[in-house]
């Protein structure tokens, strides 16, 4: 197999659901050897869909299959002393241990870094938690929804909302958990680079709340610079910035610079109303949104999405179709870039998965391997790597340790 960016990096993942498993996936897709250690009952992502035909099955969760491709999978019960001993043995052979157990549970599960590093001074341990390993909220319970609100994101979402009685809105899926995973990947690789130079390991503590607070655009400083508390209600300060209904779907349009507006006016056939003073710059257009929006909408209604998208973009006006999942699988651009990737799994079958987040000139994603069945690589991990016998493996299984 060709050398990949992270060939040689040995990772142990005690990950559940999304954040730490996604960190593991990012590393595995670039060539790291990732051993995923699941509790004997399995990662709880196995219990969440999507499932084929909406019928739950632990080997058919679309979320689990996606997050865990390219990994080896073994089971390990960290709630037993023997299980924690096995973790320690595995850690002595690893570069990086990643997990997303809650901070107050860590010591009891053998995830005590000071103990682990004694057997392997080069070990890096990355902890992803919702509120971090220190501070007054460290023991708090949270889920994706909690985090997208605790980080200040949901309060300003969806933005420009008319519905004062409707609550802050989370984005679809597990965006906060994913951000925790990618930010943790950056921090973990920073620690790994330091280790390549120095041999020194360390503990990396990643707070998902803080990852979200870091991506609030100018909102954080709206308060600290000018004393303004921002919310999801109100209007965009610039306009056009909206979705328009075309004949066959919705199209998003945004004009940031004045020349883009001028080109939009031209595309609309230079209507007389566009010369009105109330539309003369982006601030005026923002203030007079109520007058402008119906005029734009009336014009867009004559177009098909694909035609207007192309006509706009060819004039360098930023537009985007409001794509459905079906639209994405049909995109010629994504096909040309070979974005989707096909993976065959012995239980879930052959499916097209989302592919790599970026292309690299060399050292990129190899042909992906399917996500492991529960405990699929127990023998490879415990006998192959730790040197246990078949009898010992059977005994571990019988005692509920793996």
């Amino acid at each position: 197999m060709a050398e990949q960016l992270l060939t040689g990096l040995k990772v142990l993942e005690c990950g559940n659901l999304v954040s730490a498993p996604y960190l593991g996936k990012l590393l595995a897709d670039l060539g790291a050897e990732v051993i995923k250690l699941e509790e004997p009952g399995g990662d709880s992502a196995r219990g969440r869909g999507p499932f084929p035909g909406d019928t739950p099955h632990p080997e058919k969760s679309g979320l689990f299959l996606y997050l865990n491709a390219n990994k080896l999978g073994a089971t390990l019960n960290l709630r037993t002393p023997h299980g924690r001993g096995l973790l320690q043995s595995l850690c002595s052979q690893a570069d990086l241990l990643i997990h997303n157990y809650r901070p107050p549970e860590m010591a009891g599960l053998g995830l005590d870094f000071d103990t682990l590093r004694r057997t392997n001074p080069g070990l890096i341990m990355t902890t992803i938690s919702y509120f971090g390993c220190t501070g007054p909220y460290r023991d708090y319970h949270a889920f994706e929804l909690t985090a997208s609100n605790a980080g200040g994101w949901a309060f300003i979402s969806p933005g420009a909302s008319d519905y004062a009685d409707l609550p802050p809105l989370k984005a679809f899926g597990h965006q906060a958990d994913f951000q925790g995973g990618v930010h943790a990947a950056v921090a973990s690789l920073g620690a790994y680079y330091h280790r390549l130079l120095s041999g020194q390991g360390q503990h990396v503590d990643v707070s998902i709340q803080e990852c979200i607070a870091a991506i609030l655009e100018m909102n954080f400083t709206h308060y600290t610079y000018a004393g303004n508390e921002t919310s999801r209600l109100g209007r965009r300060s610039i306009f056009p910035w909206c979705m328009l209904d075309c004949q066959d779907g919705k199209l998003f349009v945004i004009n940031v610079e004045e020349d883009q507006w001028q080109r939009l006016v031209e595309l609309m056939g230079n209507p007389e109303w566009a010369t009105l003073e109330i539309f003369e710059d982006r601030v005026q257009r923002g203030l007079n949104y109520d007058a402008l929006f119906p005029l734009l909408q009336e014009w867009a209604a004559n177009w098909k999405v694909a035609d207007l998208y192309k006509a706009g973009q060819e004039r360098r006006i930023c537009m985007a179709p409001v794509n459905t999942m079906a639209d994405l699988f049909a995109s010629e651009h994504l096909k040309a870039r070979e974005f989707f990737t096909t993976i065959s799994h012995q239980v879930a079958g052959t499916l097209d998965y989302p592919g790599a987040p970026f292309k690299v000139s060399e050292g990129g994603v190899e042909t992906p391997r399917p996500a492991p069945l529960l405990g699929e690589h127990n023998e490879a991990v415990y006998c192959g790597q730790l040197g246990l016998s078949g009898d010992e493996l059977a005994d571990l299984k019988q005692r509920g340790i793996i």
């Binding site: 609100n149 803080e210 607070a213 079906a326």
Partner: protein, 406 residues
């Protein structure tokens, strides 16, 4: 060794503007890399021009947006249209480890700083190129701003209140997301360079970097050729799962989530309604999902009489996930974030220190810290030209007189 930072000694040449690229190089500055941002007053970064400004007084060095995402970086001012500036950039590239740019596809090649050119000057150079649609493909020249990448990636068609239209998500999400993936790619490439001695060019599209965060939607379509209806804050598998209005008329909300029957039963006891724990309508997750409206009415009636922090305390004590929906003000004044050292205040020459969001991770042995406030535009021009390129004061003055450093 123990007090060094992970990227000490790494130099980043930063051509970026707006948000995606600057968020990428911010991560490198956080880890100790020397990030040199190239700016020009002829083409100012949009984030220097839009509110908020310190004390509501506009000025290129007073913009909160720019200052948040340029913490700890250096700024040099160069008019890249001038041949002297092109030579300076090439000399800087030859001394850099990583180049990051987020111009539209093809632009940096036209400027003379494409990967093929720069990697001849520095054979193991790592270059991160970020744009809306990627460097290849039929739509590569299309404009792809961060807000537009959200509907483009299908996030809008799945996000939104029940029975309302597709929604945006309140931030230009495609931008910081591309930035953080760019930082990940750069660090993976650094490990590769350390092992192989080879550089790498990364082609990163805002669109694709968002698509990889949509597995629930995309895998559902791959399996079932369908997509789910928009359903606000609800979850397909858990209930309760929502934001509930708290006491008073103000816009104050608290989130409550139960991930198991045990957590639901603990909630019932904590809110003083233990009879709900044996109510068949709410006996398990399936039942609670089926009777979610009734469940939410009960919880709303309880939260409506309470402060959001009181709700948080009562439910967290019982082991139930509850937390306020935080505003920017809540974040900037939060005692937990303060205790963790997340809130950063650095001196600035033009106004009193402001709070910024800091570094979302902590490292035990190579502590990361924001070293300085964001640079004034061109603050480090003389320092960089002098110290890195060995130019004399007279040479720098000559460039300045010739309008190269503008």
């Amino acid at each position: 060794m123990s007090s060094s930072r992970p990227l000490d000694g790494i130099r980043v040449l930063d051509f970026t503007w707006a948000w995606a690229g600057p968020y990428c190089t911010l991560q490198m500055a956080h880890m100790g890399a020397q990030v040199i941002r190239i700016e020009s007053e002829k083409r100012p970064c949009v984030t220097r021009l839009i509110p908020p400004f310190a004390d509501d007084q506009p000025g290129p060095n007073r913009a909160g947006y720019f200052n948040q995402y340029s913490q700890g970086k250096k700024s040099i001012q160069l008019d890249l249209g001038r041949p002297e500036a092109v030579e300076i950039v090439k000399k800087l590239a030859a001394q850099s480890d990583i180049v990051v740019q987020n111009f539209s596809a093809g632009a940096i090649e036209r400027m003379g700083f494409g990967y093929d050119t720069l990697s001849q000057l520095k054979p193991d150079l790592i270059m991160i190129s970020i744009c809306g649609y990627g460097q290849t493909g039929p739509e590569r020249k299309y404009m792809g701003y961060g807000p537009a990448s959200v509907p483009l990636a299908g996030i809008s068609s799945l996000s939104g209140y029940r029975d309302k239209g597709p929604a945006e998500v309140g931030i230009s999400y495609g931008d910081p997301n591309a930035g953080i993936f760019g930082a990940f790619a750069a660090l993976a490439a650094l490990a590769y360079r350390q092992r192989t001695g080879r550089g790498v060019h990364v082609d990163l599209a805002l669109w694709e970097a968002l698509l990889v965060l949509m597995p629930e939607g995309l895998m559902d379509y791959a399996m079932n050729k369908t997509q789910a209806e928009r359903d606000g804050n609800h979850d397909p598998w858990m209930a309760p799962h929502g934001c509930f209005k708290c006491r008073g008329d103000a816009d104050k909300w608290v989130t409550i989530v139960c991930g198991s029957d045990a957590e639901w039963q603990a909630l019932c006891r904590a809110i003083g309604q233990p009879e709900l724990a044996s109510d068949k309508r709410f006996a398990n997750a399936t039942a609670r999902k089926a009777n979610e409206d009734a469940l939410e009415d009960i919880l709303s009636a309880w939260t409506a009489q309470r402060d959001r922090w009181e709700v948080t305390e009562v439910l967290q004590q019982a082991g139930v996930a509850a937390f306020p929906s935080m505003s920017n003000k809540d974040m900037a004044t939060d005692p937990h974030l303060e205790a963790r050292g997340y809130l950063v205040r650095k001196d600035h020459p033009e106004f009193s220190p402001r709070v910024h969001a800091g570094i979302p991770w902590q490292m035990s042995d190579t502590p990361c810290e924001v070293r300085a406030a964001a640079p004034l535009r061109g603050q480090h021009t003389d320092e960089v030209l002098g110290e890195l390129l060995g130019m004399s004061e007279a040479e720098i003055q000559q460039l300045r007189d010739g309008q190269v450093l503008t």
